[in-house]
């Protein structure tokens, strides 16, 4: 009898706990979650980011020899980006540092690490990704179609934190414009992970479908953290 009472108590406690957890977050429609996340992102002073490409390679040059692998860096609103871009060339993996300030861009020389003005043919421009007009905040706010809430999920990089997991579709031209042509001009499946309390966008996963002849889809995973931090990003000193 005593044991039954203990079990009943535990069940009631569990139900109450689940109820508390469920009511911890607002039950919002998917559009509203994304809209609040877009607003939050646009209001941030800065953040850190990591863009990783996996699956089918994406080339930065017309000859198809330099492929993009990852870019990690810091963004300070409205248009300062400091990033380290890893590219894969035949038999060689190398990194280029890029700084963008007010639309002007510099990069480090592959061999010496010395700063130089960016080659205009170089097709990775990180500031475009975070541009309030055409970048991720704008796409989140206006361009995503038919979002669906998949549930609450954790990502391994942020253990113990449940995030809204949503799925939606991004128009191809938005992705193409945002990435300066690195992503094909086709509609993309997008998965988003958003903090249910702050509405910080933790992760965006873009699935670029395989073109005829490709072996697999290209996956673009964009992670954000250090929300609201500011970073001192200034034009580099160029030695002549």
């Amino acid at each position: 009898m005593k044991r039954t009472g203990v079990w009943a108590g535990l069940v009631i406690f569990g139900v109450l706990l689940a109820g508390c957890r469920a009511s911890q977050f607002e039950q919002l429609p998917p559009n509203e979650i994304i809209s609040r996340s877009a607003g939050r992102m646009a209001s941030l002073q800065g953040f850190e980011f990591l863009i990783e490409r996996s699956g089918e390679p994406v080339f930065l040059d017309y000859e198809g020899t330099i492929s993009f692998r990852r870019a990690e860096g810091q963004f300070t609103s409205p248009d300062r980006v400091n990033t380290s871009v890893r590219v894969i060339m035949p038999g060689l993996v190398t990194e280029v540092q890029i700084i963008s300030v007010e639309g002007t861009q510099w990069e480090t020389n592959l061999l010496t690490g010395e700063w130089q003005a960016s080659d205009p043919r170089y097709s990775f421009n990180p500031s475009l990704l975070f541009s309030p007009e055409t970048g991720i905040p704008a796409v989140l706010a206006h361009e995503l179609a038919d979002p669906a809430l998949l549930g609450m999920e954790e990502i391994p990089e942020v253990p113990g934190k449940k995030l809204y997991a949503l799925e939606t579709v991004m128009p191809g031209d938005s992705a193409y414009q945002m990435t300066f042509g690195m992503i094909d001009n086709e509609p993309l499946r997008v998965k988003l992970w958003i903090d249910p309390v702050t509405f910080d966008l933790y992760r965006v996963l873009l699935v670029d479908p395989a073109n005829p002849g490709d072996e697999e889809d290209t996956l673009w995973q964009i992670d954000f953290w250090s929300f609201g931090s500011t970073f001192q990003i200034e034009p580099p000193t160029i030695n002549n």
């Binding site: 990852r70 860096g73 380290s84 061999l111 010496t112 990089e157 942020v158 002549n240």
Partner: protein, 526 residues
Amino acid sequence: MPASTKTQPGLLLALISIPIFIGALDLTVVSAVLPHVIVDLEIPLQTGLDDAAWIVTGYLLAYSVSMTFMGRLSDLYGRRHIYLIALVIFAFGSYIVAVAQGWPTQLALRISYLFVSGRLDASYVTLYVLIAARMIQAFGAGTMVPVGMALVADIYPADKRARSLGVIAAVDTAGWVVGHLYGGIIVRFWAWELIFWLNLPICLIAFLLIWYLMRGAPQVRSAGSMDWFGALLITAALALLNIGLGTSTDGVTLNALDEKSGLSPYSLPLVFAAFIFLVLFLWRQKKARYPLLALSLFKRQNYLAASLANFLVGFSLFVAIANVPLFINTLVATSLEQGAWDSGWMLSALTIPLALASAPGGWLSEKRGYRLPAAAGLILAVFGFMLMRSWEPATPYAILAYQLALSGIGIGLTMAPIAAAVVNASPPDQRGISSALVIIFRLIGMTVGISSITTYDLLRADALSEMLLSAQPTLSETVRVGMEVTEQVISETFVIAGMVAALALIPVLSLKSTFNQTSEVKNERE
């Protein structure tokens, strides 16, 4: 008193030798496949080369460290047990290397995210897992050499012991001699991970056979205790030395984007700390009741001189071993597969003559004393290194091979006399540890060689690139200058290797003559 077993000693010697051979093979196998591994792991050249070099250095370091004290541990706890445990450690390390990019990296990432925020670079996490696994492998492989030698010494009667110890030493040398070629062949046709997968069935068979065949053998155990403090001190000294020599400010961080490569401010303090730990180790060995190393041996002139020569020969030898793949992969080969294949064959032009010349070196030292063949060999090696400094991309492979063979023959002629000088200078009951010391000093020389030469290469390449490049270089200019700089740096390191080999002439010329050697033996007999 040899331990009695029902099994043929020859069969046991062969069984013990196989894992030792594979362990030594894995010491150099990576020099041929390293470019593959770096690209496969997506490690960037600028910031990752220093760390990636630890795939080689870490193995050398753990291999040398385990050799310094695991032999003593087997004296205390039984050789069979320690040998079998070492075999399991080696196999486990091989498995982790083979699967490093899979679950070990995922596990390391998950654990790391419990403690760090932000995002970790999975490529580097895999690299560190790989380095740790290589060190586990090496700890097992290094342990097997002195314990294998001691096992053999237990099995064989005194009059046949020297030859069987020689077999183990030869098997160890043969392993690292053919390692590059083996690696080159594997990556030409298969993935580099296969090298490590192949270790597993061999280790399993060796484990079962040694466990079964030696189950009746009495476990010879010494009295006394293990000098753990001494082991800790020598480990710290060797580790700090390697980290110090291999440390440069390669990490161009996001917060210090305009930092240049250069020697880290930690380098000299680390090297100094290594020196302090070495002094402490020597002090400890002098005071300890059961030391790991009988320092009194180094009072014998031949012992000290030959050990020093071994260290310097190890240094210059590894410069050549590192430079050949670098030269071919950077300046000659058009693909990584071709680079690994060509490097493997070209290194054989150094290592096979080296192994073959050991025999006449030993014969000459018996007939004419240690000094003459050792000095002649060093002069030949220096000559070869000086010829190699003029290598350029257009140099035909035949010329490279002939010059490498010159140095290989030279070093080969030197090895046997200096090894014999150490072993013959030791009393009979110390010959086991002395045989291991011959390998240890050469390995430490190789470890210091790879660490310091990698740092030199990076610093020098950086300085030369700055000097030669224009303010706004085009991609083609950058590539051209990069190749010129690599050629120049390789040329300079061959000169350094030649100078270090020439420096080894000093201890070699101080070796006592045959007359004294005979006296030593006579004294010993009396």
